[in-house]
Every structure is written in structure tokens, then in C-alpha cells.
């Protein structure tokens, strides 16, 4: 089985679907000939032709709207938003249209679109190349929200998203494109090569939406994370020396509530980690759900470790980024109760 980094795995997902389904096409800013600023659509135009993987005008709203129109027609467009920070001009089309067309038309028109977007920090991208806007989409009924943390899931979840008959917002943690970054920014980073989750089969396979992945079994505390924070959480558990259970949520909507509840009922403690600002981040929803479902099992307050309630500050990336130290401290607080 070839070892792929996340970029290659995502590219392989698109390749597999485009090979098998002529209704799948891809477009976005710089996503055609050039293959995308992160190279996720590399060589697809060369392989499948100009009309199946192409450049788009710098108009995220237009890209989303055109994709919606295509999806209504019966295609399965995969559109790229160059950075999640630039998804806002498309916000109306995504939340007012893609999310609601099935409902408002009584089920007659549907929008099987996949909206890919690199997201998250840790790449020294400053305010507008580092944001994590996932909770702005989890709030919208009608959207699914998917965030893989490794090459194997990236491919399987992207294929599942493309095959899904509902609109999916698919955020790619760009800090993980090349390796399982654990947040120790001052230590050498490891590449994906050789990592078991970088063993990515050729061809089509799908990972179901709505199923979390247990990354580490543990008895003492449950860590809920997604994207880059999965690796940070694993590192933090190790750093804290605590037998933590680490759950990679993988899809925020639909959420694998059973996996979460089962784990927290077992451990009685819960730490939630995300990069987005704290207030009204997805951690708030997770915290609310956990206390609603596990109130009588909780032995300590649920902790949230998150980005601060500030814009993403270029020079203070590592103070802003919820690194293993901060997560480990939260684990300790959760353990002390």
C-alpha cells in the first residue's frame, strides 16, 4: 500500500472519484492547471481535461453558487475555497442556499456538493490564513461538516463526502498536510511517510460520515478533538502522563454522539480541544452535549482548550495555538476535578 501524505491522499480521493464518475468535477482559485496552492488538485486537469478540473474567478460566492447550480443539475462538484479564511463571501450561498434547498423545495432539488477548504493554524499564516471557522457551519441545519486528521481518513472521508447527497463542508487541517504535527513546534516534525495512517489504498474506499475514530484508548479522561488537535491531544496525553482516551471526531455534523457519551461515561472526565476562538466554538456544543448526556457521570468540570477570543495573531502563533502544554494543563485540571 503506498504511503501518502494528506495532500496526496486527498488528490487520490479526487482521482478515484473522477475516474469512476463523470459527474464529479473540481474547480477553484488556482485549482486547475496549477493544481491548487496546496497542490491537492495537482495533475487532475492534465489527466481529466480542462473542463473537469479548472480555475475559477476570485469570487468565493460565485464558486459556491456555480457549484450549487451544478449540483442541482445532477453533478457532484467539489469546489475549493483557497483558505477557510476566505469562505465568508460564499457564506450566504452555503448557509441560505446549499443548506436549505432540499428542505425548501420539499425534497425535490438537492445539492450534493463538497466544499473543500484548507483551515487552521500553525503555519505562520497570520490572521487570514489560519482561521478555524467550523462552528459557523455546524450551526447551520442542512450542512455536514467533516474534518479529517490523517491521510487514510482524508481520502475515505472525502470520497464519502463526494458520494453524500447533501452538502458537505470539508475542512482540511493544513498543518497536517505534510505530517502529524503534534504541536511541539520547537521539536523536529515528523513526515507522514511510514505512519500507519498514511498507508492509503489506491482506488475507491469510503469512511462513513458520523463515525468517530478512537485514536487512543484510556481510562482516566476523554479528550475530544479533530484535525490538528488530535495529534496535539495525543502528545498532551503523553506529556501529562495520564491514561487518556483520545477521540478523533472526524465529522462534527453528523456527530458520533454515542462514541463520545460512552467514553465520558467510562472516564468521568472530559477535555475538549480546538483551534478556533473559544466563545461559541464547536467546543461549546460538545461541552453542552457532554454535560447533557453524562451529567451524573462527570467527576470534574469539562475543560475547553481553544484559541483565544482574539483574531489569529501572526507573531504570537504559539501562544495562541492550543499546544500540548496547555492541553496537558487542562488534563491535569480535569484529573484534579
Amino acid at each position: 500500500m503506498p504511503s501518502m501524505n494528506m495532500i496526496q491522499a486527498l488528490n487520490s480521493a479526487l482521482d478515484a472519484k473522477m475516474a469512476e464518475d463523470p459527474n464529479v468535477l473540481s474547480f477553484g482559485e488556482d485549482a486547475g492547471y496549477f493544481g491548487g496552492v496546496f497542490r491537492v488538485t495537482d495533475q487532475l486537469q492534465q489527466k481529466y481535461g480542462l473542463t473537469r478540473s479548472f480555475d475559477a474567478p476570485i469570487a468565493e460566492g460565485g464558486i459556491a453558487a456555480a457549484g450549487i447550480g451544478m449540483a442541482v443539475y445532477g453533478l457532484r462538484p467539489v469546489i475549493e475555497m483557497q483558505f477557510a479564511d476566505y469562505i465568508y463571501p460564499a457564506y450566504d450561498q452555503i448557509v441560505s442556499e446549499a443548506a436549505k434547498i432540499r428542505y425548501r423545495s420539499g425534497g425535490e432539488f438537492t445539492v450534493p456538493i463538497t466544499i473543500r477548504s484548507p483551515y487552521g493554524g500553525g503555519i505562520f499564516g497570520g490572521q487570514t490564513h489560519s482561521q478555524s471557522p467550523e462552528s459557523l457551519f455546524t450551526h447551520i441545519a442542512g450542512l455536514k461538516v467533516v474534518i479529517p486528521s490523517n491521510p487514510y481518513d482524508a481520502k475515505g472521508l472525502l470520497i464519502a463526502s463526494i458520494e453524500d447527497d447533501d452538502p458537505v463542508v470539508f475542512f482540511e487541517p493544513k498543518r497536517l498536510y505534510n505530517g502529524p504535527f503534534d504541536g511541539w513546534h520547537d521539536r523536529p516534525v515528523s513526515p507522514w511517510a511510514g505512519h500507519p495512517l498514511a498507508d492509503v489504498p489506491e482506488g475507491r474506499y469510503a469512511e462513513p460520515l458520523g463515525k468517530a475514530r478512537l485514536m487512543r484508548e484510556g481510562a482516566d479522561v476523554t479528550l475530544l478533538a479533530y484535525g490538528t488537535m488530535v495529534w496535539v491531544s495525543l502528545a498532551a496525553a503523553e506529556h501529562a502522563g495520564v491514561d487518556a482516551e483520545v477521540i478523533d471526531l472526524r465529522t462534527l455534523v453528523p456527530l458520533d454522539i454515542d462514541a463520545i457519551v460512552e467514553s465520558v461515561k467510562k472516564t468521568g472526565r472530559c477535555v475538549i480541544v480546538h483551534e478556533a476562538p473559544r466563545t461559541s466554538g464547536f467546543g461549546a456544543e460538545l461541552s453542552a452535549l457532554v454535560q447533557e448526556h453524562c451529567f451524573h457521570h462527570l467527576e470534574a468540570p469539562i475543560e475547553r482548550v481553544t484559541g483565544w477570543d482574539t483574531p489569529y495573531p501572526h507573531a504570537f502563533e504559539w501562544e495562541y495555538f492550543p499546544g500540548p502544554k496547555r492541553v496537558a494543563e487542562a488534563i491535569k485540571r480535569a484529573m484534579e476535578g
Partner: protein, 410 residues
């Protein structure tokens, strides 16, 4: 560096007339019927920029068809156009009354604008996809869509085809080439372009059409639609229904004092036509031109349909608060029904008696449909099953929706 001597000042456009003023359309030049040339559909956009500043008219003041844009319709086509328009107006009046009677919470008429959707509903086919706003009920009606089904939607009753999910008049019907209307202005416009791109991508032969109001052209979606249509040469007809009002704002607030809406196409390298929207023949001919262009893989056309919103914006509106109550009477392009009637009579293909009969027939049709729909129920009396509230959010409900439905106990 030069400095201005006098201080700057902010200009806020104002219409010529406000309530109490005498209506005045003297600033509007409607040209002459038959005067505008008809380029070949293969003409380059650059060669026909002047089309954006003229007004294509076919019917003259005597009701005769003039000039190169005469679509040469058969008497049957003309009569169908006329009776369709009558039916639309009759339906509108009835539904407007239904609102007063508490049978619906909301309604929107298209009075004075009937020619547009009734003509275009015939030029485009049901296999094409229309992306309408809320004043193209004529598309459905001219295609013989069951009036009772429209009323069921308006009444949100148990037979509402879209299950009570939307405000009245937000129809949706795929089989009739009628895309689900959005409450959000403008969003349908670039979607239509995407749909057309998909048809071209597949090598199919279907084209798309979209409608937007003069007011809503200011939305970013309008810009996106024209950019994408031009760049990918999408087979789509982009209609701007310039009825001169956007609720209480006159078209100057959308930039309509500075230039024509049709001229917006120029900056994208798209061809545009500017058409007398109250002239059934002109609308038909221009639409046919644009549709043929799209079908010939020559890309998109922008059509400005110049008309006047004769009625209130919606049942929630009272136009006498912001414009002279009798402004419509002075509007130079008249009434689309009267003008087509006059034409048919001039042709010897129609007369007052037949007109009266057609009006009576329309009333009958609407009455019959009303009976059918009201038998199911008007608003509040009947509605779809409550459990449908949780359906169609996704193809399959997730655990949240299942539990929430259980919480409601349905």
C-alpha cells in the same frame, strides 16, 4: 496637488415624484416601435453594445407589430399569450383577496409585468431550467401548471407541494422547469449559471434562464453570475426585470439613474438587449434571440425588461406612502394585456366579446381551483403532517433530528 475650492457634498438620489406630486415620466425615452436593429445571434458582444441603450419595441401605439424584432407569432400563439396573461392577473387578484380574507399570510402580484413570464414561459421549455424570483408566476401558469397546486402552496395546506416549508408564493416544481424560489434576493442568478455550465459540461442541450429585479442587481450574486457566465460561456439567459421599484426604493437607488441595467452586461463582455417589458412580442423576440444564442453555444445574454410594478410590492406594502398613487396611469409603456389585446383586435383575431369571455373563463378557472384548494384548507385550517418538519433537512435524519422529532411527539 489641486484641492477643490467648494466643499464636497453627498448625493442621495431621489425620484422625480413623491406622494402628492403629479406623476412625471418625461425623463424616460421609450423610443419608437420597430426602430431598433436586430443583430444576428452570432454578432459579437463588442459590436452590439449600443443595444444596451435602446429599447426594443415591436407593438406601436396602434397595436401594429413593427420592425425586425417582430417574432411573427401565429394568432394561436398570440391568443394563448393573451389568455395566459389574463389568467395570471385574475389569479393574482383572487389571491390578493384571499389574503384580505385571511386565507393566506402573504401574497405578491406581478400586475403590469405579465407579458414577461408569459412570453418567456413559452420560449423556454420545461426541460430548460428557470431560476425565478417571486414575480414569475406566469412561467407556471402559461405552462398549464395546476392553479390549485399553487394555491395549496399559498395556503400551506396538507397538499402544499413543498410541505408547508416556505412563505406563500415560493413555488418549486422541477417538472415545470421552475427552480425553488429563494427568499434571499439574487442567489438564484449565479446558480442558474452553474446549472447552465453543468448542461454544457455534460454536452446536453438544455439551457438555463434566471430572473432578477432591478433592485437586486446590486447584490454581489449578480456580479458573480455575469462573471461566471462570461468566463465559461454558459448557456443561460439572464433577465433583469426592471419594474423601477424595489419595495419603496426607486430604481435610482440601484444605480438606474446613471445608466441602463442592460448596460451592466458590457463590463463582462456579454451581449445585452433592452426590451419593452410590456410588449409581449418584443419580450418574445428578444428572449428567442437570447435562447438561440445560448443553444448555439454562443453563451449568455443579459436582457433588461423595462416595465413598471403596478401593484404594491406585496401584501405587506402600501406604495401610496412613497410614490404617487396614480403613477401607473401615466407610465408610457401601458398595460401588457391591453396592448396585446389591441394587437389581436387590429389583426382581426380578437374582439371585445372574446375578451370578455376569456376574462370570464379565467375567473372560472381560478374559482374552480380555489374550490379545490380550499376544500383541502386555507392557512391554519390544514397543513402537512408535523413530522415532515424534520424531514428533508438531510436525505436521512441524523440522531438530533430523530430525537427532536420524538421530543415533539410526532
Amino acid at each position: 496637488m489641486k484641492k477643490n475650492r467648494t466643499p464636497l457634498s453627498l448625493r442621495v438620489p431621489e425620484p422625480v415624484c413623491r406622494p402628492g406630486d403629479k406623476p412625471d415620466f418625461s425623463s424616460i425615452d421609450v423610443g419608437q416601435a420597430g426602430a431598433v436593429a436586430r443583430p444576428d445571434v452570432t454578432a459579437t458582444p463588442a459590436s452590439m453594445r449600443d443595444m444596451a441603450f435602446q429599447l426594443i419595441r415591436v407593438l406601436d401605439d396602434e397595436g401594429r407589430a413593427q420592425g425586425p424584432w417582430d417574432p411573427k407569432l401565429t394568432p394561436d400563439q398570440l391568443r394563448k399569450g393573451l389568455t395566459d396573461m389574463i389568467l395570471v392577473r385574475t389569479f393574482d387578484d383572487r389571491m390578493h383577496r384571499a389574503h384580505r380574507q385571511g386565507k393566506t399570510s402573504f401574497y405578491m402580484k406581478c400586475t403590469g409585468e405579465e407579458a414577461i413570464a408569459c412570453a418567456q414561459g413559452q420560449v423556454f421549455s420545461r426541460e430548460d431550467m428557470g431560476f425565478p424570483t417571486y414575480r414569475q408566476q406566469g412561467l407556471l401558469i402559461s405552462r398549464g401548471y395546476p392553479l390549485a397546486a399553487m394555491m395549496n402552496q399559498i395556503y400551506s395546506n396538507a397538499a402544499d407541494p413543498i410541505k408547508g416549508r416556505q412563505l406563500p408564493i415560493m413555488y418549486s416544481d422541477k417538472a415545470y422547469g421552475f427552480f425553488t424560489i429563494s427568499g434571499n434576493l439574487g442567489t438564484q442568478y449565479p446558480q442558474a449559471v452553474g446549472w447552465a455550465m453543468a448542461s454544457a459540461y455534460k454536452g446536453d442541450d438544455k439551457i438555463a434562464a434566471a430572473w432578477i429585479g432591478d433592485g437586486a442587481t446590486a447584490e454581489g450574486d449578480f456580479h458573480n453570475a455575469l462573471t461566471f457566465a462570461a468566463v465559461y460561456r454558459a448557456p443561460v439567459v439572464l433577465n433583469i426585470v426592471n419594474n423601477q421599484w424595489a419595495i419603496s426604493s426607486f430604481m435610482g437607488i440601484a444605480g438606474g439613474l446613471e445608466t441602463t441595467f442592460a448596460s451592466k452586461a458590457i463590463g463582462y463582455g456579454l451581449p445585452s438587449l433592452r426590451v419593452d417589458g410590456n410588449d409581449f412580442l418584443a419580450v418574445w423576440a428578444a428572449t428567442e434571440w437570447a435562447a438561440e444564442r445560448a443553444r448555439s453555444n454562443l453563451g449568455a445574454t443579459v436582457i433588461e425588461l423595462f416595465t413598471y410594478r403596478a401593484a404594491q410590492h406585496s401584501t405587506s406594502d402600501d406604495p401610496s406612502r412613497y410614490r404617487p398613487g396614480d403613477e401607473y396611469d401615466h407610465w408610457p409603456l401601458g398595460d401588457p394585456i391591453q396592448r396585446l389585446k389591441q394587437h389581436l383586435i387590429a389583426l382581426g383575431e380578437w374582439d371585445e366579446e372574446r375578451h370578455a369571455a376569456a376574462e370570464k373563463d379565467a375567473v372560472e378557472q381560478v374559482r374552480a381551483a380555489g374550490k379545490e384548494a380550499e376544500a383541502i384548507g386555507t392557512i391554519g385550517q390544514s397543513r402537512p403532517s408535523v413530522k415532515t418538519m424534520f424531514e428533508d433537512v438531510y436525505k436521512e435524519p441524523d440522531w438530533r433530528l430523530i430525537r427532536q422529532r420524538q421530543e415533539v411527539g410526532v
